[in-house]
Amino acid sequence: NSGNEVPLIFAAASVSDVLTESAAIYERETGMQVEFSFGGSLTLANQIAKFGAPADGVFFVGEEPKTILGELVNPVPEGSIGLVNTLLVIGFKDAEHVGTLSDLAASDAQVVIADPALAPAGQFAKQALESAGVWQDIENDLIFAVDVRAVLAAVESGNSDYGIVYRTDAFGSDSVSIMSEIYEGYSPIIYVGRSVKLAENSASAVEFFEFLSKSPTVRDVFESAGFTIGFAGEAGT
């Protein structure tokens, strides 16, 4: 029945490469296929929640998208794989070193973060700055970029001195210097898969997510991209 159909999974564009690779492994090992539609996490959530887009599963990060989807998606099953990311403060190559978020706030320099209203990365950055108690201080020096790649580009091109991005983004760039890693003060940044409740191929999506959780090959793919691997239940999803 419909369980044999190819599921369509709406996934964050930032993990498109690792998911595409995993799908190839999935097909090689099980003969089954999966399709993705990539976009911003919020955009994808809105497409499904507000416009009835035909997604069988979702794979993205952050609270806001989850809130938007609410009851439309199933909870993450126990033991599902999660791709864990952390935040970094990065700086333009000849920018002065800042060690902590307080230093950053004190520097008076322009700081780019992703727009909290547009991208989960922005929400995480905001949480971190708030819990460091520097949000008020830094608010006027902040620039909101559309997404985390735009943050990276703004710093790489020297238009801003500092920015807050995901660890995985910074690893790919050699034209920025890493100032400091932020370990706490924000919700865990975890990309997880969820199936969409009433979707036709919901079951096939679940099958794919299960495969991701079990396959060691897939885990290698994720790790080599810079993610830490976690599993539901471990880190309070």
Binding site: L8, F10, A12, A13, S14, V15, S16, D17, T20, E35, F36, S37, F38, G39, G40, T43, Q47, F51, G52, A53, P54, D147, R149, L152, T168, D169, G172, S173
Partner: protein
């Protein structure tokens, strides 16, 4: 690389079909706007121009409403094809056609309006009906604007992203066009890949422009085999 080719092929397919749609529709609308007086003319004018005034994302959401299960296009297509058009390449064609239509209509309209009506009258007097007159006199005389409109429309369709990604998604192999592929690569940090695809876009644009210029010259030559020395 293989997937590059299929992305380009799909993009071309979508842009070409969109152009094939906007060409006659745009011509009809431009003709109505320029040569006819009717109630609701301004409404039509606004209607075809709207997509230009709105950010494509909005157009995308509006389209998604229309082709979704609740929109009338959606219901129609569900009863015909058994499914909605959303997240199919046809949705991408729709998106591309709608955003490029204003460019096409505006170019065509300016060109048609510039044709000397006395030549149309002369053609009628020689026995050509209004349709034949349009095809053999008006259209060829408006060629610059027509060719420019087609170029603008085609290239705009080729670079359409905002509306497409909303209504057709970004499904590799099915609806992923060059612009959405570039976006995906950028988001994933694949900058080199992204620039490579951007370069492909540029090459397609240059080819389209070259064809445009060639058509322009060819038509101009057909129209007056030499301009040299003419007062």
């Amino acid at each position: 690389m293989n997937s590059d080719i299929s992305i380009v092929a799909l993009s071309l397919q979508i842009a070409l079909v969109a152009t094939a749609v906007t060409l006659p529709v745009g011509m009809l609308v431009a003709w109505l706007l320029v040569r006819k007086q009717f109630r609701g003319k301004f409404v039509l004018d606004v209607f075809v121009s709207l997509p230009l005034a709105l950010p494509p994302v909005v157009v995308g959401y509006a389209l998604l409403w229309l082709v979704g299960t609740n929109g009338w296009i959606g219901r129609l297509s569900e009863s015909v094809f058994g499914s909605t058009l959303a997240f199919t390449w046809i949705a991408a064609v729709l998106a591309a056609a709608i955003v490029s239509l204003p460019l096409v209509v505006r170019s065509f309209a300016a060109a048609l309006a510039g044709v000397d009506p006395r030549l149309e009258v002369a053609a009628r007097g020689l026995g050509a009906g209004s349709i034949r007159t349009f095809l053999t006199i008006t259209l060829p005389l408006a060629y610059r604007g027509v060719i420019a409109g087609v170029l603008l429309g085609f290239v705009r369709a080729l670079s359409e992203f905002g509306a497409t990604i909303i209504v057709a998604g970004n499904i590799p192999g099915r609806t992923q066009t060059l612009p959405s592929a570039i976006f995906t690569r950028i988001s994933a940090g694949d900058t080199d890949d992204a620039w490579r695809l951007a370069l492909v876009s540029v090459v397609l644009g240059v080819i389209a422009l070259a064809v445009h210029n060639w058509l322009l010259k060819r038509t101009a030559n057909g129209i007056s085999s030499s301009n040299g020395g003419s007062r």
